[in-house]
């Protein structure tokens, strides 16, 4: 990361940083419903709207549920307005039906999701089972590591979502409670810079008094398959767009996140751990420690779950790549199989005679801490496998019983 930082450094929580991003992007309509740990984000936005501090006039709809929040922002998007909503956990699950409406009709809704486990067992604490459950809803999904990245990713999210070639909704996942409620120094860009990066929202995909139309059409079987094929193609397109927008962002703001997946000390790494969200920070520290001990370890930070960095994972399998064992840390689980990220990573790398061995780790569910010690244990297991010692392919890490 370069040292050029434009804007003001302020001490903000992850939710406040996200709210600052939304303020700067100036949606015309926000609809939201409170849920821990998202609530302080929506409260901050309420303050901004009430004080007239949004960068553009904004109507805040205090709806009676998350289903309605997503339906309302869809309604506003149908009229051609830039929109925002935020939720978490049960709220995200409650929105599920509308997530698919929004993506199928290609409305560029941007949403922050403060990740939290899903009941039961009832929990207000963090994991990513909420957003992973919505993996197939047709949304671009980002995972962020810090409040700064939450702010920057929301700016990027609007830019990506609203590009005429993309027109996809974007979910920015912010690990609860770790990020939304932790205070950190955050660079808040200046409005002018944001305006230069994010043009006013214009779209052809809206209702019009001059040329009335029908939206969210029913498709018979004769068109449906083709429409889904086009939707898939847009996700393929989005891969390049996400990388390009990140570069553009870097040019203007001096910060970048490297497209779909970032790496840390992977150049000659033989044991590599892939993670999403806040666990990246902890893993960096552990990588530094193990490197100091002479171990060839590295970190992959998966920034996008959809589109998935499939090419990136496939490249780990090339003969030139130093990686011998890939571990994947999942803060979610698909019962009856394994962690979701692990499945996707393996599928992306698969080819006959693949050289890489893999291990899937499930940890940090329902607020269970993912400690440095846990990460070290994971690297230890990767080392075991590299040395030919047996390891179960799929393991829970950090349990009170082993």
């Amino acid at each position: 990361m370069t040292k050029t930082q434009k804007g003001k450094g302020r001490f903000l929580s992850g939710n406040e940083a996200a709210a600052e991003a939304v303020r700067l992007c100036g949606p015309q309509v926000i609809a939201a419903y409170p849920i821990t740990p998202q609530t302080t984000l929506m409260e901050k936005l309420s303050e901004f709207v009430a004080a007239g501090e949004m960068s553009a006039p904004c109507k805040l709809l205090l709806v009676e549920s998350e289903h309605s929040a997503m339906a309302a922002v869809m309604g506003a998007a149908m009229m051609g307005s830039r929109v925002f909503t935020a939720t978490s956990s049960q709220g995200l699950l409650y929105m599920c039906e509308m997530l698919n409406y929004v993506s199928g009709s290609r409305f560029p809704v941007v949403m922050a999701n403060a990740n939290r486990g899903t009941a039961t067992p009832w929990t207000i604490f963090g994991d990513q089972r909420d957003s992973f459950a919505m993996r197939d809803s047709g949304w671009i999904q980002f995972y962020v590591e810090s409040g700064q990245e939450a702010l920057d990713t929301i700016l990027q999210a609007y830019r990506i979502a609203e590009l005429p070639d993309v027109m996809l909704p974007v979910m920015v996942n912010i690990d609860g409670f770790t990020l939304p409620h932790t205070y950190d120094l955050v660079q808040v860009p200046e409005q002018k810079a944001v305006d230069a990066f994010l043009p006013a929202f214009k779209t052809f995909n809206k209702l019009s008094l001059e040329a009335p139309k029908c939206m969210s059409f029913a498709y018979g079987p004769d068109y449906h398959l083709e429409s889904r094929c086009l939707q898939q193609k847009v996700f393929d397109e989005a891969v390049g767009v996400i990388e390009r927008v990140d570069e553009e962002f870097y040019g203007l703001f001096g910060r970048r996140y490297h497209g779909l997946a970032d790496t840390y000390r992977c150049e000659d790494a033989e044991l590599v751990l892939a993670v999403t969200g806040s666990a990246a920070g902890t893993t960096r520290v552990v990588v530094d420690k193990l490197r100091a001990e002479g171990k060839k370890v590295g970190l992959i930070k998966v920034r996008c779950l959809r589109p998935f960095p499939a090419k990136f994972f496939a490249s780990l399998n090339s003969p030139q790549n130093s990686c011998k064992v890939l571990g994947v840390l999942d803060r979610n689980i698909s019962f009856g199989l394994e962690g979701g990220l692990y499945t996707d990573a393996k599928a992306s790398m698969y080819r006959p005679g693949a050289k890489i061995n893999t291990l899937g780790f499930v940890a940090g569910l329902g607020g269970h801490d993912v400690s440095k010690a846990d990460i070290e244990v994971m690297f230890g297991k990767l080392a075991n496998l590299a040395e030919g010692k047996p390891e179960e392919e799929h393991q829970f890490i950090g349990m009170r019983w082993a």
């Binding site: 015309q28 289903h67 339906a71 869809m74 139309k213 029908c214």
Partner: protein, 300 residues
């Protein structure tokens, strides 16, 4: 019947804004929507959830509405139009109507929560519920607006079974209890009254609700030319009423001096075919209780 709206029937356009819907012949839902759109005009944005109307008015690349028209999820009519209205306001769109149209299921059952939200916030929308008294699109299942005793596929009638065993929910009361600026019941059998109410709603700002009785030949089991006849009989026998709630006051638009026997309305419909004299009596007793309550509230 008083006409205190600016709407003149001589102004009524011969332009059809709903055309070619694939509804059954005699479908009252279509009539209600056609008439409403004639009053509301071209600057209307229509939103319809899953229901007969949505299923029969759009299938890519064909569409029956000549105005802007969106389809939304079954529970989401009110919430979707809330967002549309918010956007219209923020964009400074003048003189437009944001209109939600949903069936009784989409309104009184799965969409009630979102509708309550719209009414509480007084969002600037018109919500029209066409009530065909069951889930017709999915093949005639009971809703909370299905009347007592009616056969549906989920409230069977036959050996030992007597159709729906619960009374219908009073949607008009529920919406009026939100103290919205305007709320009315109507019937396709009284088109003048219906259009006046739509015109009145159009002239008001805020959350407006119109509950239209909409006989359904397919679901109720009668031949399609009798839609208006059954709509009239429902009102004349006191089993449906025409009312308005405005400025905190309720009024009846039509009070039959004497009710026609319920049997006249019930006996020709397949869904009530299993009914006995005793059932007719029970229905009339319940009707009289309801009207006593109604009249008390109108007086007060």
């Amino acid at each position: 019947m008083t006409i205190d709206s600016k709407f003149q029937f001589s102004d009524l356009s011969d332009q059809e804004l709903l055309y070619g819907a694939k509804t059954c012949p005699g479908c009252a839902a279509t009539i209600a929507v056609r008439l409403a759109l004639k009053v509301l005009g071209e600057r209307t944005f229509v939103c319809v959830p899953a229901c007969c109307l949505a299923a029969t008015t759009n299938a890519y690349p064909q569409v029956s509405f000549a105005v802007n028209y969106v389809v939304t999820a079954f529970p989401a009519t009110a919430s979707t139009i809330a967002g549309m209205a918010a956007a219209a306001e923020m964009q400074g769109l003048e003189d437009v109507t944001i209109l939600g149209i949903a069936g009784d299921g989409g309104t009184a059952d799965i969409g009630l929560q979102a509708l309550s939200g719209v009414c509480e916030r007084n969002d600037n929308v018109i919500y029209l519920c066409y009530d065909n008294e069951a889930y017709m699109n999915t093949g005639i299942q009971r809703s909370s607006s299905t009347p007592w005793g009616a056969w549906t596929t989920t409230s069977p009638a036959g050996e030992g079974e007597r159709g729906k065993t619960k009374y219908r929910k009073n949607l008009f009361d529920i919406i009026a209890a939100h103290r919205v600026p305007y709320c009315a019941t109507a019937s396709v059998a009284y088109p003048m009254d219906l259009m006046e109410k739509v015109a009145k709603a159009k002239a008001i700002k805020g959350a407006r609700f119109i509950h239209v009785h909409a006989p359904c030949p397919t679901g109720w089991g009668y031949s399609s030319e009798k839609t208006i006849e059954y709509g009239k009989l429902a009102v004349e026998s006191g089993l449906w009423y025409l009312a308005e709630y405005e400025n905190g006051e309720m009024k009846l638009n039509l009070t039959p001096k004497t009710f026609k026997p319920a049997e006249l309305y019930l006996k020709g419909q397949r869904r009530f075919r299993h009914m006995t004299e005793q059932d007719y009596k029970l229905i009339e007793e319940n009707r009289d209780r309801e009207w006593d309550l109604l009249k008390e509230r109108v007086k007060a």
